[in-house]
Symmetry: C2
Subunit: 317 residues, 2 copies
């Protein structure tokens, strides 16, 4: 059932031995909201710990500073920033059906918990937690503030994306006053690249091709590049944004080679071009500005097929 | 003399035929504060116009939407975001000595106007103007909001830099509520690259060399690259940030070839390395994290000399 944030506070006030679950392939928001809430519950004298299906990347470890490691048989299981129990990854089998409370901000949230609080106007789960902590009467310290600021800035691309609202900015301002080191967090999250990432950018940009008077840009990420650079998945995050960032480009296409030789396509478009409409021709989908699909044909043919559909879409806009 | 913002409002209330000056090599803040204030003064029924020594780049033109073009013999001359009358460029000779009011946020501000208002706690001149408009009783419309938001986001690197304070975030939130299209402004300012810029990044990254176990990265920007790509100065902005962005790099060095064959060096460092201290060995200077100097010797020798001083600096930290 759907509950209010006040009811979430009541549930947590009465709870102990609390297990907080994050989603697989964890990002700053699911880890920031989990670690921030966990530390706050521990400050309330409760036993609490966090769990995630996948390993936490080194640049996210600071989120857990001040979180006391604890092991216990959980009496209250909850999730943060998890839009669907499937996204619990390998933890799903163990916990699905036993989750008491889900706190999330995804409009696409599929209910799976006994109690559900979903605010899709929030840019991040970390934008919800400060209000919850206020209701719980926990003072936000600098470590909690760092965790919550991290989720807000990573989910909004450092306040760049349309999901960042005035409320988002104000919550961030409050967290900075509680001691969040915004400049350092943003330096680590947005101004730091691994050498493998730098290499990947170079190699991928070398493959950039332009079509339709520069309105379409296509880029390739091959398995050979990944092997050559030793790039991790985290080094590939956001690479597919590059083609559309180029001035005049309305449609940016990134072909990522799969180990089986097929290609996963990421499409990024500017209005009025509909990325989902284009990908739907190939059994894919997504949003207006960002969508995806797959090809099993050779790259040259995949590009041709893609380009034909893009041409048609450009023509009707 | 130094005045309060209330006194600035009084001066402007009594003024007409107001000329607002921006600094040379104009950025989002000097243009955003000038255009936002100009439009507000016009809404008050006053005659006002803006002037800048240099041409305004195409991606800044939207700042002047809603500003009525006007020509008149100015009765009140003021400047915004100008730290020193020298920075008026070719306009200095015409106006220096005649400037009634200077509104600025630079700690390094050198007084040059009859009345001076400098708030060095403001991240941008555009962070000051909303309060001024409140005192003037002008309603901030969406076009004014776009101008002022632009200066705030560009001067803070999209809220990334340490100069962005909670007050900065809250002013931005207020401007979004007045209609500033934050997502679109940030897309244009931070998510758009010219093809020449993309090419420059590729070519420059191809020259990246690492020293001292990856703690030092050196990159080159040659005249040939600029010629090959047809890059404008605006396409080169911020390129020198790339070497230091690489994980593990404490000292990022960019050698930019001058037309006379010499090299202009931009140094970017992470704490505790002092960029200004390193550059001072070569007659240059700057800040702890960003400094510059010049070389007339061949590149290979310049690199050697630079590296020796950097090694010494790394050794004592």
């Amino acid at each position: 059932m759907t509950v209010t944030l006040e009811q979430c506070a009541e549930l947590l006030r009465d709870a102990d031995r609390i297990l907080i679950l994050s989603h697989q392939y964890p990002d700053g928001d699911t880890l920031g909201s989990a670690s921030g809430l966990c530390r706050a519950l521990q400050k309330m004298g409760k036993r609490a710990r966090c769990e995630c299906a996948d390993e936490i990347g080194p640049h996210y470890r600071y989120l857990y500073s001040g979180v006391e490691p604890d092991q216990f048989d959980p009496a209250f299981i909850m999730s943060v920033d998890v839009a669907d129990s499937k996204l619990l990854g390998r933890l799903e089998s163990a916990y699905a059906g036993k989750i008491r409370l889900a706190i999330d901000h995804h409009g696409s949230h599929v209910p799976f918990a006994e109690y559900e609080y979903v605010d899709s106007t929030a840019a991040a789960a970390c934008e919800i937690i400060p209000t919850l902590l206020g209701l719980l009467g926990v003072e936000i310290d600098s470590q909690i503030a760092n965790s919550l600021y991290t989720g807000i800035t990573t989910d909004t691309g450092c306040f760049r994306y349309p999901n960042a609202t005035p409320a988002t900015y104000r919550t961030a301002a409050d967290l900075m006053e509680k001691g969040a080191d915004a400049a350092e967090i943003n330096r680590v999250m947005f101004d730091t690249k691994s050498r493998a990432r730098l290499e990947m950018e170079r190699l991928a940009m070398d493959t950039m091709e332009f079509f339709e008077d520069g309105r379409v840009a296509m880029m390739e990420i091959s398995c050979a590049m990944v092997e050559k650079t030793g790039a991790l998945d985290s080094d590939l995050d956001g690479l597919s944004a590059i083609p559309r960032q180029i001035e005049g480009v309305l449609v940016g296409v990134t072909f990522r080679q799969r180990s089986d030789g097929g290609y996963k396509v990421s499409l990024r478009t500017q209005p009025p071009i509909d990325a989902a409409a284009i990908c739907s021709h190939f059994g894919g989908g997504g949003h207006r500005g960002a969508a995806g699909c797959s090809f099993t044909v050779p790259l040259s043919e995949a590009k041709q097929q893609m380009l034909e559909v893009i041409r048609a879409e450009l023509a009707i806009r």
